[in-house]
């Protein structure tokens, strides 16, 4: 479990992380989402004690990461930039990390096998492809079977097979009861792995809610209507609280009415309907929506509040 309270990081007068408060729960994959430069990596580095917060606190398993006697058992981390000496073999890299916690060579061999690096484990890590480097990073993260896993953009630059592997791994770890906190700037990726999502924009908390709720909230309650008499239907539906947009000659996008209400009105007016469906916003759209809000927030509405679920 990760708990951040009013976590803030400033570099000079630039605020990278602005008063973040959130909790990452065990047993599920929590996505940490935001555009590039939103403060995700800085937040993760503060969780690991690599960067010191300017304000606020962050704990893992109830204590600051630094205070743990067996840190690798508490958090395994894969940070965005590589954290491997390029001239050392993967095996020796893992062996050196393992030695700090008295972890055996057997376990080192085990994690190498787990990530599928057994054929190249004795080769220089500097010669590894991006995918192999990510696998090595994950092997080091898993070394002490940590309670919490923190992964910064783990699928960046991976091929489809590697991406699939990471997704399965994250879900498997969460299913085993681990806390899994994974960042991405890609909503679509998060939609496939994360059950809960924390969204940040310019260092501020934008949303902290189940993924399903985020999608529901984002899907703007618009209804898509297809009708050969679209114009007549539009004229009939339009009212003060209802907006109707004609997106094609036979298609309307209606907000302010449910699909059922629209269907009933069409029947009453003897207008035929060829399609009637609530519009599902894609996660990418939800994300864009939030990012746009964030831009507007900075530009116009300083009293705006971040969206939060009552979880």
């Amino acid at each position: 479990m990760i708990e951040a309270k009013n976590l803030t990081k400033k570099y000079g007068d630039k605020t990278a992380v602005d008063d973040l408060t959130f909790t990452v729960q065990p047993g599920i994959v929590t996505g940490f989402l935001g555009p590039n430069g939103a403060g995700k990596s800085t937040t993760m580095r503060m969780i690991l004690g690599l960067d010191a917060p300017t304000g606020g606190t962050v704990t893992v398993g109830g204590k600051p990461y630094r205070k743990h006697t067996r840190p690798l058992q508490v958090v395994g981390a894969l940070l965005e930039a590589r954290a491997v000496h390029t001239s050392r073999s993967a095996y020796n890299h893992l062996l050196a990390l393992a030695a700090t916690h008295g972890i055996t060579k057997n376990r080192v061999a085990e994690v190498i096998e787990m990530v599928g690096l057994q054929d190249v484990a004795r080769k220089r890590a500097g010669g590894f492809s991006l995918g192999m480097g990510q696998r090595l990073g994950i092997a080091s993260a898993l070394l002490a079977d940590p309670e919490t896993l923190i992964l910064d953009e783990p699928v960046n630059g991976l091929d489809p097979e590697g991406i699939r592997w990471i997704r399965d791994l994250l879900k498997g770890l969460a299913a085993d009861g681990h806390t899994v906190f994974v960042s991405s700037h890609l909503m679509s990726e998060m939609a496939l792995t994360a059950e809960h999502v924390i969204v940040v924009g310019r260092g501020r908390l934008m949303a902290d809610m189940p993924m399903s709720e985020l999608i529901a909230q984002a899907s703007s309650s618009a209804v898509l209507v297809r009708s050969p008499q679209a114009r007549a239907l539009a004229d009939a539906l339009v009212a003060p609280d209802i907006t109707v947009a004609r997106t094609a000659h036979d298609t309307l996008e209606v907000t302010g009415l449910t699909a059922a209400q629209i269907g009933d009105r069409a029947r009453d007016l003897h207008l035929s309907l060829h399609g009637l469906a609530p519009k599902q916003a894609s996660l990418e759209e939800a994300f864009m929506e939030m990012t746009r809000d964030e831009v507007e927030y900075h530009a116009h509405t300083p009293t705006d509040h971040p969206v939060r679920s009552a979880s």
Partner: protein, 278 residues
């Protein structure tokens, strides 16, 4: 949107294992640093270079002094110390040791390894103590052996002008040279932590060990005698040399000066490690 979800049951307990994990202790951090040290080829090569320089210079100077003895001036004869001549290789060995000491740390910063290191040892200071202790131990052991070989071979090559291990100050000079080089090792590790870049660290070290002592000779004599003996390389040389310059400090004071440099550098490294983001 069509997605492929893997059945959760197929994944359960595939990644967890029973792993024995012990607390991080200074001894374990030292062990980890030892694995790091021996698993880089550049480390072995640089240390070998240090040993070769130490031995080869001693032998070459020994042979040359003997071969050209009759060409030397009387005052050179008068100040000639066969012990010091055979240990003269320390001037080059200290550069190899200094560069490697800086690299042991800056190599981690340059590659990002430092994040893995501090991820495993988030208190950070144990890493400083382990690297400094380990490197001091390794350089002392190697340089003690190298100084001994340089001395014995050097005395052979000096022929009738040579001396033996039982000569006054011989053992002290050998141990002192190894001790000085080990302190240079510790100092360079701290420079690595403070400067964090290889180029900057090496440049700083070379400036301090090589350039300043030479540049300082241009100062007026009254300044020279108050400044130069306190430079680490001069203090080190005074500490273990049999013959010393007339304006030099005593061997004990020189050792204290040298320890002062190392202590100040360690203190600086402690401060930056606690203050700076990794």
């Amino acid at each position: 949107m069509s997605t492929t979800f893997v059945a959760e049951s197929a994944l359960t307990s595939r990644y967890s294992a029973v792993v024995t994990v012990e607390p991080v202790t200074p001894a374990r951090v030292l062990h980890s640093e030892w694995i790091k040290l021996r698993s880089l080829r550049s480390t072995a090569l640089t240390l070998a270079a240090g040993v070769v320089l130490m031995v080869a210079m001693g032998w070459i100077f020994g042979w040359a002094s003997n071969a050209y003895w009759s060409d030397m001036r009387p005052d050179e004869h008068a100040s000639f110390s066969p012990i010091d001549v055979s240990l003269a290789g320390y001037t080059l060995a200290q550069l190899a040791i200094g560069v490697l000491g800086v690299l042991l740390v800056t190599g981690e910063y340059a590659t990002g390894m430092i994040r893995a290191t501090f991820g495993a040892v988030p208190r950070r200071l144990p890493v400083l103590w382990a690297k400094a202790t380990l490197y001091a131990g390794v350089t002392f052991a190697l340089m003690l052996a190298a100084a001994f070989v340089a001395f014995v071979g050097g005395q052979q090559l000096l022929g009738t002008h040579g001396t033996t291990l039982s000569a006054d100050g011989a053992v002290g000079a050998i141990v002192g040279a190894a001790g000085y080089l080990a302190l240079v090792g510790v100092f360079s590790v701290t420079v690595g932590f403070i400067i964090r870049s290889t180029a900057g660290g090496v440049a700083f070290l070379f400036a301090l060990l090589l350039v300043l002592p030479t540049l300082g000779l241009l100062l007026p004599a009254s300044w020279r005698e108050h400044l130069l003996p306190y430079l680490p390389s001069n203090a080190g040389a005074t500490m273990f040399s049999v013959r010393t310059a007339t304006d030099a400090l005593s061997a004990t004071t020189s050792l204290l000066v040298l320890l002062g440099w190392v202590a100040a550098a360690l203190a600086g490294a402690v401060v930056v490690l606690q203050q700076r983001d990794a």
